[in-house]
């Protein structure tokens, strides 16, 4: 039984190209499923509207407005049996509540979080500060053949000392606030944060933890990627936005 290296290569070639055409083309329905997009709410009489607000586990709804940063896309605000498609493709989402940082992914502001456009490959250090692991695995998915972030010059680095960007997943718990601060300090300047997922963006379901402000109050620019968890293409889009690459077709602001 020899080493089946040839077998692996044949297998890989037989599967063919799996990689998404994003960002050359808009993401497909498969890559950006309904649960990655904000629902669109229709106006309701005040009593029903209040009930709908009460159903939201993160108190993200006010009338027909949804707080993008808090929304989990859990669809509890939609009527039972609502169609999966159509109403999900919404208008511009509202920026997350709270003090917005310069270059917030969803608000107005410069595209690159750095003073000058980023001319080289981007090195990213992911840090989990209290997630449920779903965001972690969606970030890890960027390395799989379907998304293949390295083709866009985006690489993971195993140490914050070599990182341009800190990818934060989860809501900072009491025990992780200090490690988070020290990791950020260990990075060379200039640096920036990409907050992945509702927990990192706004605290999400865990808004009661005092650490929820740690990401927002960090002394560096923050780009927000809301969603629970966001789809890999959304994380990819945020990373591209961080380096100031022009927006691709169909890419959301």
């Amino acid at each position: 039984m020899g080493e089946p290296m040839v077998g692996w290569i044949i297998q890989a070639v037989r599967r063919g190209r799996l990689t998404t055409r994003f960002p050359r083309a808009a993401p497909t329905e498969e890559e950006l499923p309904p649960t990655a997009r904000l629902p669109v709410l229709t106006p309701l009489p005040s009593e029903a509207s209040r009930l709908r607000e009460a159903r939201c586990p993160t108190e993200a709804i006010e009338g027909t407005m949804i707080d993008d940063g808090r929304c989990l896309r859990c669809a509890r605000c939609l009527p039972p049996g609502a169609p999966a498609q159509g109403p999900w493709d919404g208008p511009e989402p509202r920026p997350p509540r709270g003090p917005g940082s310069a270059g917030s992914g969803n608000g107005p502001g410069p595209d690159s979080v750095w003073a000058a456009p980023f001319a080289r490959s981007l090195h990213v250090f992911p840090i989990d500060v209290g997630s449920c692991q779903a965001c972690n695995l969606e970030v890890l998915a960027l390395a799989n053949p379907y998304y293949d972030a390295s083709r866009l010059g985006i690489f993971f680095t195993p140490t914050p000392r070599h990182a341009d960007l800190l990818l934060v997943m989860g809501v900072p718990t009491a025990a992780m606030e200090e490690p988070f601060r020290r990791t950020l300090e260990a990075m060379p300047t200039p640096k920036a944060i990409v907050a992945v997922g509702a927990c990192a963006v706004s605290g999400g379901l865990f808004r009661h933890l005092p650490g929820r402000w740690a990401v927002e109050s960090a002394p560096v620019p923050v780009i927000y990627v809301p969603g629970c968890p966001p789809a890999p293409v959304q994380i990819l889009a945020a990373l591209r936005r961080a380096v100031g690459t022009p927006r691709a077709e169909g890419e959301r602001r």
């Binding site: 080493e3 692996w8 599967r15 989990d128 209290g130 998915a141 799989n144 988070f180 379901l205 968890p229």
Partner: protein, 439 residues
């Protein structure tokens, strides 16, 4: 493979030939789920007495700290004995999770392993108090994303047992379907990352692609890539009626066939298999003594699987034999996962064949009576126990004994004596989760 013989279907029969059975659900308070035929069944008890513990599976021997450990003031400092306390985590790329494992080593060989959980404590058990059971689901699901259905399922079963509420047949089948889909995805992830640790980039990419395909199948039919919301009665994005189920089963079949091809190649890749074989060995006696559960216990020759030994419906009507390996090394645990991917794909097939019919609309706020109940089920990591107390329709307390929490002592025991580079093979074969442990 051996068929688990002689075990009763009903909960109440202790596993592994012991007189009684115990699972701690809140060790700090001595709260345990106890099954004691001498007392006619199972109950949640506080501080079980020594006489009872002596009748359970072999007594747990407390781990004696290696010389010098107690004198460490700070992780990373050399110890008196000339050994280094190496803190792995909480910020490290390798674990990809916030948690810390302290490894004591004179250089290469690991002489003591101390997992330090608690970095991801999000106070879920406290946060859900005061909510109605259905409203608490988002928190329960997000305790650990990859096992969200197992947690939601066990939690709902516990509330139903607390409130004495009958469950509709369709809901039970839906829960089993979601649990099996997630089991396939979780096992694929562990196998793929163990291949990655062996430095096989082509193989890693192929396994990672397969895991992505599993997530897409869950997203397409279950309505969410992580099946969050699947068990929510009126989740609008679920597309699971008979024709869709057929297509889901076909997609799972495709994933299974692709997996078989990949595993055929992986099995012949000596570089990979050599790293797993005789790595982090947990023998049967140690697995029993340390209370290992799930694929870890099954890799050490203990044929316990809640889906067979203590099934909640519809598992009592599905055909399943627990996957058992006897070697107790990382390879055995990976082989159990390989076999379980095949079985779960088969179970999805069976479930789609025998789907009881449309889900229809479900009352999202059923009346619930006060009471206390518990339930257990086989999560991808093993035996999961929920103990829920309801008062006036709202949760007043929950206690959880997760499979990850149960398997830490076995992990620490098995890793001792290995070298540093064995770590990731042990880690992926055990499949522990800090998020699940911390809650």
């Amino acid at each position: 493979m051996t068929r688990a013989a002689g075990w009763g279907r009903a909960f109440g029969e202790p596993p592994w030939g012991a007189d009684a059975w115990i699972a701690y659900i809140a060790p700090d308070r001595g709260l345990a789920l106890v099954c004691d035929p001498a007392r006619n069944g199972t109950a949640v008890v506080e501080s079980p007495d020594a006489a009872f513990l002596s009748r359970c599976s072999p007594p747990v021997e407390p781990e004696r700290p290696a010389p010098g450990v107690g004198r460490d003031r700070e992780p990373g400092a050399p110890t008196a004995a000339g050994r280094l306390r190496f803190p792995y985590g909480p910020v490290t790329f390798g674990l990809f999770e916030a948690g810390r494992i302290d490894l004591l080593t004179p250089g290469e060989r690991v002489v003591s392993v101390r997992p330090q959980a608690g970095y991801k404590h999000r106070e879920i058990d406290r946060t859900v108090v005061g909510w109605r059971p259905g409203e608490a689901l988002p928190w329960i699901e997000r305790r650990v994303g990859p096992f969200s259905v197992a947690h939601a399922d066990t939690f709902l079963s516990a509330t139903e047992s607390a409130a004495g509420r009958p469950v509709r047949e369709q809901e039970l089948w839906l829960r089993a379907l979601g649990a099996e889909l997630q089991r396939i995805h979780v096992h694929l992830g562990h196998i793929g990352r163990s291949v990655e640790a062996a430095g096989q980039p082509v193989a890693t990419a192929q396994f990672a692609a397969l895991a992505e395909e599993a997530r897409r199948a869950m997203g397409r039919w279950g309505g969410h890539r992580w099946l969050f919301g699947l068990l929510d009665p009126n989740y609008p994005l679920r597309r699971l009626e008979r024709p869709e189920l057929r297509r889901l089963a076909e997609e799972v079949g495709t994933i299974r066939r692709r997996f078989d091809r990949l595993w055929e190649l992986a099995r012949a890749t000596r570089i990979y298999i050599d790293r797993l074989q005789s790595t982090a060995v947990l023998d049967r006696a140690a697995a029993l003594a340390l209370g290992a559960v799930g694929p870890v216990a099954r890799g050490s020759g203990i044929g316990w699987d809640d889906r067979v030994a203590d099934p909640i419906p519809p598992y009592d009507r599905l055909d399943l034999h627990p996957a058992v390996e006897s070697e107790g090394d990382a390879l055995a645990r990976i082989l159990v996962r390989v076999e379980e991917i095949r079985q779960s794909a088969q179970l999805v097939e069976q479930i789609s064949d025998r789907w009881p019919g449309p889900l229809g609309e479900i009352d999202p706020r059923p009346a619930v009576a006060p009471g206390r109940g518990w339930a257990r089920s086989e999560s991808p990591a093993g035996d999961l126990v929920y103990d829920v107390t309801l008062g006036e329709g709202r949760i007043t307390a929950i206690n959880v004994r997760t499979a990850s929490a149960a398997n830490w002592p076995a992990f620490a025991h098995a890793l001792r004596g290995s070298v540093f580079t064995d770590f990731h093979f042990a880690w992926e074969s055990f499949g522990l989760s800090f998020a699940e442990t911390d809650g």
